[in-house]
């Protein structure tokens, strides 16, 4: 657990970067610091490994104040990932990954073995081992940055906008990979981003910062979306937070109609021999021999957000549910979905945006 106990940081020019921060980052979880630029999120992160020293207050890792530990030794025990990866261009990929291990006296061979194992773990080919960073793409470099932080197997990781310098598609891949790794490793992670979507996607807990280094709200992503503490948070999490909060509910409570019920509207759901949906046919749509694509299906475990999106984007306003083999088991019309969402709202007696 990482504890911020009344931590403030005032820079020599009088700028208050962080103002009396009280925060507890749970062990084994991802805590995301999010907020507009200049809100003190990066400063807060950098105070954990003493890259920045607080003006007042104390930061403790598992109860031990960081200021009582030798700077270099403290940092070797904390994984550190930064925005542009910050790889050493003069060293090969395995040498980069082995940096901390070599600092702590691990032999060259052992460090290399760990590095190659980590390369695979972060989804990179072993053939990159002896290349130089300049030979890798931005996304690959960022993966190496993560591998380098993991090499000494630190219990705590600090990540400062690690995925913000890569394009959106690569970023999605990195985020998914990161969540998969974290499920395996269970590190205590402090993660800085200015992207609220990334915060909600990755965070077990999210700390929303606002200008002047104030903590606006600390809670789970669902709490932020459903119960924003104030207008700043509501505004920051965005207009479609109601829609996004549907991500936290599963579709298994929905009342699904039978596949046969679609014919009442004149649409025809074309299935293949195994009963898997192929597409839609009917008046104004394709012929049964050439149906138009259905655009996607959902299974019981999927989120309400996905089902809603499918129902809205479907050419006929119908989302199709399939079983594990992909065979159609039911449908839900967007009219029915809206009614059920309304009932859900009443049940929970909470306003939705």
């Amino acid at each position: 657990m990482i504890t911020f106990d009344g931590v403030s940081k005032v820079f020599p020019d009088g700028t208050v970067a962080v103002d009396d921060l009280h925060l507890e980052l749970p062990t084994g979880k991802i805590t995301v610091f999010v907020g507009p630029s200049g809100c003190g999120k990066t400063t807060s992160l950098r105070m954990i490994n003493r890259m920045v020293e607080p003006t007042s207050g104390e930061i403790l890792i598992d109860g031990v104040p960081v200021t009582t530990q030798d700077e270099a030794l403290l940092r070797r025990g904390i994984g550190y990932v930064i925005q542009h990866a910050g790889l050493f261009p003069h060293r090969t990929i395995v040498e980069n990954i082995g940096t901390v291990q070599r600092l702590t006296g691990v032999g060259r061979k052992a460090a290399r073995a760990t590095a190659i194992d980590l390369l695979r773990r972060v989804g990179l080919s072993e053939s990159l081992a002896d290349k130089y960073p300049v030979q890798l793409s931005g996304g690959q470099q960022q993966r190496v940055g993560v591998a380098r932080a993991l090499a000494a197997d630190p219990p705590v990781m600090l990540m400062d906008e690690p995925f913000s310098a890569v394009d959106p598609i690569v970023r999605e891949g990195l985020q998914a990979e990161f969540l998969r790794l974290q499920a395996e490793l269970g590190k205590t992670i402090a993660f800085v981003t200015h992207d609220i979507d990334e915060a909600i996607k990755l965070g077990d807990m999210v700390a929303v910062f606002r200008e002047g280094g104030h903590l606006a709200q600390f809670g789970s992503p669902q709490e932020l979306l459903e119960k924003p503490a104030n207008d700043f948070v509501a505004d920051f999490v965005g207009r479609d937070r109601g829609f996004r909060s549907l991500s936290f509910d599963s579709a298994d409570e929905l009342v699904i109609d039978s596949v046969a019920s679609v014919s009442t509207g004149g649409e025809i759901l074309v299935l293949d021999d195994a009963g898997r949906p192929v597409g839609w046919a009917g008046p104004g749509l394709g012929d049964t021999s050439a149906p138009i694509p259905h655009g996607g299906t959902f299974t019981r475990g999927d989120s309400l957000r996905l089902v809603t999106d499918l129902a809205i984007s479907s050419p006929v306003g119908i989302a199709v549910q399939v079983d594990v083999d992909g065979a159609a088991v039911g449908v839900i019309r967007h009219t029915s979905l809206v009614r059920q969402l309304d009932e859900r709202r009443r049940r929970r007696a909470e306003p939705t945006a």
Binding site: M51, L73, Y80, G86, F88, H90, L103, Q135, G145
Partner: protein
């Protein structure tokens, strides 16, 4: 008086001048010349590199590194030597001091510039992973700054090897002897021999420095990791700066 005919062997090609027994043996002159050059370079590097590293790493006293280049270039070496001879007498010292002063600015300025050009993200990562300050300087900053540092050293080596000829003006050896004596004797083939040898030496030293640079600079920094076939010219903003201010 000896009258030389046009058909005589030029000084440079006369085997007589290459033997040890000659009064001014060419191999001996080259040896002395190289000795002066090496001494001046080693002393200058020993002063300029640590100072440049300090300034580049801390960002403090940056004006020293920036102004050193200009001051150094505007000092006339010959005048300086004469002044030092008057001040501390003859011998190797005045010449050596003048050459060291000539070599310091390019090395200092390029070391400083090399360190300033290092990717701040790499330095931040180095610190954040628990490197101590000196480890950061020598295992991260210097390897990344090496191409620029090497270009400064090459620059200094070329200037010193060319300027070491002035040692002859204060009665010392080196290839300057051929120039000074040749001019005094109106023996122009001797002057040409001196000039040609200095030029050849400069080219040779630069080639050796190029080889050294290939060995010490990581392919990940020099760009060789990316373009393995074509030799990329080493970017040397300092050469541009020097020609710009000297003009």
């Amino acid at each position: 008086m000896i009258v030389r005919l046009a058909t005589d062997t030029p000084y440079l090609l006369d085997p007589e001048n290459w033997t040890d027994s000659a009064v001014t043996s060419i191999p001996e002159l080259i040896g002395t010349h190289l000795l002066y050059t090496a001494l001046a370079l080693v002393i200058a590097a020993a002063i300029a590199i640590p100072v440049g590293l300090f300034i580049g790493h801390t960002g403090r006293l940056a004006f020293v590194a920036i102004n050193a280049g200009n001051v150094g270039r505007s000092l006339p070496t010959l005048g300086l030597i004469s002044f030092l001879v008057v001040l501390i007498g003859g011998g190797l010292f005045p010449a050596l001091i003048a050459l060291v002063i000539l070599a310091i600015p390019p090395i200092l300025t390029s070391t400083y510039a090399g360190l300033r050009a290092v990717d701040p993200a790499a330095v931040d990562a180095a610190r954040g992973m628990g490197m101590r300050e000196l480890q950061t300087v020598f295992t991260v900053e210097v390897p990344m700054a090496l191409p620029l540092m090497m270009s400064g050293l090459r620059n200094a080596a070329l200037q010193v090897v060319a300027t070491a000829t002035v040692a002859a003006y204060v009665g010392l050896g080196g290839l300057g002897r051929l120039l000074v004596d040749g001019l005094a004797l109106n023996q122009y083939d001797r002057v040409v021999a001196g000039a040609v040898l200095v030029a050849a030496l400069a080219i040779l030293i630069d080639l050796l420095a190029e080889l050294l640079q290939r060995v010490v600079v990581s392919p990940g920094v020099s760009g060789r990791a990316v373009t393995r076939r074509a030799r990329v010219a080493h970017p040397s903003p300092l050469t541009e700066v020097s020609s710009g201010t000297a003009a």
